[in-house]
Amino acid sequence: MTREAAYEKLNEVFRDVFDDEEIVVNDSTTSSDIEDWDSLEHINLVSAVEQAFGIKFSMGQVVTMKNVGEMVDIILGQVD
């Protein structure tokens, strides 16, 4: 999977989780850029991403990923 394809799919997940069709994420997007992205939504988001890509984040990754770029790195590492 290419990084672009991952972002395309990831944008859909973000829009679905946060109920906002305008969301476009990139490498530097963090929780402070999306209004409803608090600690609760973080877990919902992680579960939705896991389902969409058929992958599993470790608990360590869940609590340490700093931005969407790191999330995509993990996704690509597991999908490939």
């Binding site: 109920d19 919902n44 579960s47 470790s58 608990m59 609590v63």
Partner: protein
């Protein structure tokens, strides 16, 4: 050995001098020795075996995880360590809670007679704090986000570090751990800033908290004799007592640590300025909130059970409501755990746990209706007046929880809340009865002036680093401020009749 005792001051000064006389590379060894001595002098010395055993269990688990790569074996090691640490915490602190609850239920059918007798345990000081610091570290090593510590003595220092062991803050090795072992050269600014922080802690504890305690004890120890406005005054005083006591002990712990060049995590961020209950918990006992979120709430939501529950709820109640329902269920377990952490009694489970869960759930459910009401009434939601109202509302709700926290039992708290509603006695305050609650006019005035100082500094802390701000002033002003505070504490610190060092409320946890 309480932070406000003379013996602690002597112990601390000796430790500090020897610390900087030691070669920088092995200063951590001195801190370990000091931590052991401190624990031995702080209570029943034999109980030191508990934190040592906890460190040994963690060390064995970490070594095992380090040796084996297979997830199954690593998980088995983690399970054993978790069972040992949580098991000892459970047995020492919560067995009697279970027994008393069973007896309470059985008593309904057996005319008040219980069926099991409780146990008498000697509980090691700070067990809830060191257990959580160590447990979090072992879980992080399992998750491969913290480096495994191969030196047992270093791990023991992290687990038993004396400024933090009795009442926190709860540490996180991956953020706070390594600095314990780094060489910290003498830094004049760090040492003086540490002293200043300690002084601020003594001010909060000795000048304010100890005075508030007198009013609180008068009313809460004789609650049947008081109603209405007296209960509210005593409860607000308790909120201030607990805050100044706990955050004051944190100021001392962080200040002591800063003089060693070690930065501990902050535990408070002016929590009574919070506008919602959720915000309050992000600013009150911060390290406990972070710990609970990371090691209880997140893993719980990621279990198969909750994944299935979430799916079912979404199918049945729709996406938004389904998500809310799953989250609320996980939060119920989280807040029950937070309540139980505070103590093995229903008054803690309700006052520091379930009641706050109820507040947050109601806040979420009523939020759309509240927004509509604001729109209908054309009230600007960004106004400062509304913010002030939100702060008062949050403070009031938190105080209801404090009634449970401080009362002898949940039943006593309910009794007090019922009699607090009768506020027809407000007028009694005008006749001087306020000064019959434990503080005379002069003492009461000292308390009010000190609270005003605390309030002003807290307001300033929202915008600036007060110590840095003072440090930029001319030397005369700088010294005048700190000496004024020092003499204020020495002269007005409440030592009371038959003074014994101020007890820290969270120390028993």
């Amino acid at each position: 050995m309480s932070f406000t005792s003379f013996s602690f001051l002597c112990f601390y000064v000796c430790t500090l001098i020897v610390y900087y006389l030691f070669p920088a590379k092995i200063r951590w060894v001195l801190l370990l020795v000091a931590s052991v001595v401190y624990y031995l002098l702080s209570g029943n010395s034999i109980l030191i075996l508990y934190p040592i055993a906890a460190c040994l269990a963690a060390y064995a688990g970490i070594c095992f995880m380090e040796r084996f790569e297979e997830t199954k074996k690593r998980r088995a090691a983690l399970v054993v360590v978790v069972l040992l640490l949580v098991g000892s915490l459970f047995v020492l602190k919560y067995v009697n809670f279970g027994i008393y609850t069973i007896n309470g239920i059985a008593g309904i059918f057996r005319g008040g007679r219980g069926i099991i007798s409780g146990f008498q345990f000697l509980i090691p000081l700070g067990i809830s704090f060191y257990t959580f610091s160590i447990l979090g570290y072992v879980i992080d090593v399992y998750n491969k986000i913290a480096e495994p510590q191969k030196n047992f003595l270093k791990l023991a220092l992290y687990g038993m570090y004396f400024p933090a062991i009795l009442s926190g803050p709860i540490l996180r090795y991956r953020e706070d751990g390594e600095q314990f072992f780094q060489p910290h050269p003498f830094d004049y600014k760090q040492v003086t800033f540490g002293f200043q922080r300690m002084l601020w802690g003594f001010f909060k504890t000795l000048v304010i908290s100890e005075r508030m305690k007198l009013i609180v004890n008068t009313v809460y120890d004789n609650y049947a004799d008081y109603s209405g406005i007296y209960i509210w005054i005593a409860t607000i005083c308790f909120a201030l007592q607990l805050y100044t006591n706990f955050s004051g002990s944190m100021d001392i712990a962080l200040g002591v640590s800063q003089t060693f060049g070690i930065k501990l995590p902050e535990n408070f961020e002016t929590p009574f300025f919070s506008k919602t209950i959720a915000e309050y918990w992000r600013r009150w006992h911060i390290t406990l909130g972070v710990w609970m979120k990371e090691y209880v709430f997140y893993p719980l939501l990621r279990t198969q059970t909750f994944a299935k529950l979430g799916k079912r709820c979404r199918e049945k109640f729709g996406k938004k409501r389904g998500k809310q329902l799953t989250t609320f269920t996980a939060m119920l377990i989280l807040w029950f755990t937070v309540g139980v952490w505070h103590g093995g009694a229903w008054k803690y489970v309700i006052g520091s746990g379930l009641l706050h869960w109820f507040y947050i759930v109601m806040g979420e459910l009523l939020s759309p209706a509240y927004k509509k009401l604001m729109e209908k009434c054309h009230i600007c939601t960004d106004g400062k007046g509304l913010d002030l109202w939100r702060m008062i509302r949050t403070f009031f709700l938190v105080n209801i929880g404090f009634v449970f926290f401080r009362a002898d039992s949940a039943a006593a708290a309910c009794h007090m809340l019922a009699s607090a509603v009768r506020i027809g006695n407000v007028g009694a305050l005008l006749h001087g009865s306020l000064f019959s609650l434990g503080l005379d006019f002069i003492e009461f005035t000292i308390a009010i002036v000190s609270l005003l100082i605390l309030f002003t500094i807290s307001l300033l802390q929202q915008k600036i680093d007060v110590r840095e701000w003072i440090a930029q002033k001319r030397i005369i002003i700088r010294w005048a401020i700190w000496y004024a505070l020092l003499f204020y504490v020495i002269l007005l610190g409440y030592y009371g009749p038959g003074y014994s060092a101020a007890e820290f409320i969270y120390q028993g946890f």
